[in-house]
Amino acid sequence: MRKPHPTAVIPALLAAALLQACGGDPNSPGIEYMPDMYRSPSVEAYVDPGQDPYLVGEEKAAAQRSTPSARLPVAGTVPFSFDPAKAAFNFHYPYPATQEGYERAGLELKSPLPMTQPVVDRGKVIYDKFCLHCHGAKGEGDGSVVKNGNYPPPPSYLTILKDMPEGKIFHSITYGKNVAMGGHASQLDKEERWAVTRYVQYLQNGGKLLRDTPVPAADSTATAAK
């Protein structure tokens, strides 16, 4: 927007004084044009319904404002997709967030996604957003959070975690592992978690789809990889 001519002293001073009066407090957005369109009576994310005191009265608005708008999903429900290609992800995840569940997932759980380049590529996109900053580009546990934030380094995919089976990888992404890694189930759906699991395996293989030496059977690694 163009600036008023510098010699417009008097009206501009008046305008500036007005602006100062309404725009000075960073906690207040300033004058609203059509408040009823900004403060909608319909439910919107992160804005509680009916929060406009003009519409519902201050008392009711205050009560509604104190209700959290972000909520947990109803207990016992699972996300469901009618897309047949995603049928494998519709089921309840049966392993509990315990040491026993972790071990069982490692023995029994198998990825529904194939180990192919497109899946790995998709996994890499997710890995770069959700894992890279701790695990590092090659999974060596040297991400920026570890380096700059003095964060407990995750073990390397190339040494300690080299033989971790896919079930354990998936379980760890879902529920987290130890204190340093939280669960990522709220950020990634099952398909995304499986895709990123494939990419982690790709990194375990040193950047190859298949390992030079065959992966040991899952049961022999049950105790070797924590």
Binding site: M1, A8, P29, Y38, K129, S144, V179, A180, K226
Partner: protein, 443 residues
């Protein structure tokens, strides 16, 4: 522009330099050097490579603090065997091992392929552990200085105007007394006193042309200024108004979390927390469990003077007290910054997943400058459609536009002509693919 003192204590690097200097001076003598520095260094290296994921030298984390571990194991079993393969020691029925196993939630420690010497070194390191001098924020990453201030010229105009007024008034006074002196010499009485308003009217009467031109100019300027001001109503970002920058219940520092790694920041991807941006209308404010993905382990920070208090607020919000879950979470009531009126539809998914825009293109240098989030863009319709007019659609490898392109290419008459029109400026813009249709955003 946010109103901040230009001489804020947060801005200059000098204070950091002094702070770092003071820290090094005070901290250095108090750091007791371990007797065997080489062993300490070996231990530190082995510790960081193998143990640091789960153990801290001086604090319990996933596993117990290693300080004093040797003393705790004294006479209770073979600590070397315990470190190398804890499962076997537990199975062998060692009472202390089983007690520890039960105490630490039956979590097994990864067997470690380390030698006795390395274990000795690690335990020596842990027993003599002295935290490195508090890491002052790296010199390259001063807390973001307040954005460069626009130098306002209005105060100067006011000062100069006042000065001119004073000069004019005193000149007027001088002239009047001179006139009176002349009249006195001519034997006439002094001029009658006139109010300023009468003087003004008199002046206007004698300078009609000049006064009308000046009046017309003033009127025009007044209307322009009022128009410009009116255009800022309901605008909370952009170049013309102070950005809306509300105080949040937790002072989250975007520059630390999302800033570039080479500047000593954590460089966490925006979408790690705002994971809805790619698949939903809303980018989303992360629920506090996402904070706790890291902040269960990060309980303190030296980054900002307020960091520790703010981290404590996350723990309170999620119902954690140190390492224990209290079971009473307290929702955080964030203040919404960007608010579009209901009459306009906007979807993050369309702009992030299809348009492949960077967050910063609309939200500004949030990862470099904003230790408190603010509305950077004006979010006016003019701003929206300007971008839709200029922006080239990223077609390459973008499945979203395959069909429209196929249709254009198939229709040899109309489609080809349209495509040629689009490509006159050598790019296909959002507008050309319907980005200026009213019903795209208003329905």
């Amino acid at each position: 522009m946010p109103r901040q003192s230009r001489f804020s204590f947060r801005s200059p690097g000098l204070f950091h330099a002094l702070f770092v200097l003071a820290l090094t001076l005070t901290a250095a003598p108090s750091l007791a050097q371990p007797a065997d520095a080489a062993l300490y260094a070996t231990g530190e290296k082995v510790f960081k490579g193998n143990c640091a994921s789960c153990h801290k030298p001086d604090k319990d984390m996933t596993g117990p603090a290693l300080k004093g571990a040797r003393a705790r194991w004294e006479g209770k079993g073979d600590i070397y065997a315990w470190v190398r393969n804890s499962t076997d020691v537990i199975k062998s029925g060692n009472p202390y091992a089983n007690e520890l196993f039960a105490k630490w939630n039956k979590a097994l420690m990864t067997p470690m392929a380390v030698s006795n010497e390395e274990i000795d070194a690690v335990l020596y390191y842990a027993d003599n552990y002295a935290p490195a001098a508090a890491k002052a924020p790296a010199a390259g990453t001063p807390a973001p200085a307040g954005e460069p201030q626009e130098v306002s010229f209005w105060p100067w105009v006011l000062v100069i105007g006042l000065l001119l007024l004073v000069v004019a008034l005193s000149l007027g006074g001088v002239r009047k007394s001179l006139n009176n002196a002349v009249r006195e010499a001519e034997g006439k009485g002094p001029l009658p006193d006139r109010t300023a308003w009468q003087g003004f009217k008199n002046w206007v009467w004698h300078n009609k042309v000049f006064a009308s031109v000046l009046g017309l100019l003033l009127l025009t300027w007044g209307i322009t200024a009022a128009w410009d001001w009116a255009l800022t109503i309901g605008v909370y970002g952009g170049d013309t108004v102070a950005h809306y920058k509300p105080e949040q219940p937790i002072r989250f520092d975007h520059t630390l979390h999302a800033g570039k790694a080479d500047k000593g920041n954590l460089a966490i991807n925006c979408q790690y927390c705002h994971s809805g941006a790619e698949k939903s209308k809303h980018a989303g404010i992360p629920s506090a469990n996402v904070c706790m993905n890291c902040h269960q382990a990060v309980t303190e920070s030296q980054r900002n003077p307020w960091s520790n208090a703010e981290i404590k607020k996350i723990h309170e919000a999620t119902g954690w007290d140190g390492m224990a879950y209290t079971g009473t979470p307290k929702p955080i009531q964030w203040v919404k910054v960007h608010n579009l009126p209901d009459l306009a539809f906007f979807s993050h998914e369309q702009h992030v997943a299809v348009g492949k825009l960077e967050c910063q293109e609309c939200h500004g240098p949030i990862d470099e400058q904003m230790d408190q989030a603010e509305q950077w863009a004006p979010l006016t319709m003019g701003w929206c459609i300007q971008c839709h007019k200029d922006k080239e659609v990223k077609m390459a490898g973008n499945g979203y536009y395959d069909e429209i392109m196929a249709r254009l290419e198939k229709d040899e008459k109309l489609g080809h002509r349209e495509l040629k029109q689009y490509l006159e400026d050598e790019k296909i813009t959002v507008k050309e693919l319907g980005g200026w249709e009213c019903a795209k955003c208003h329905y």
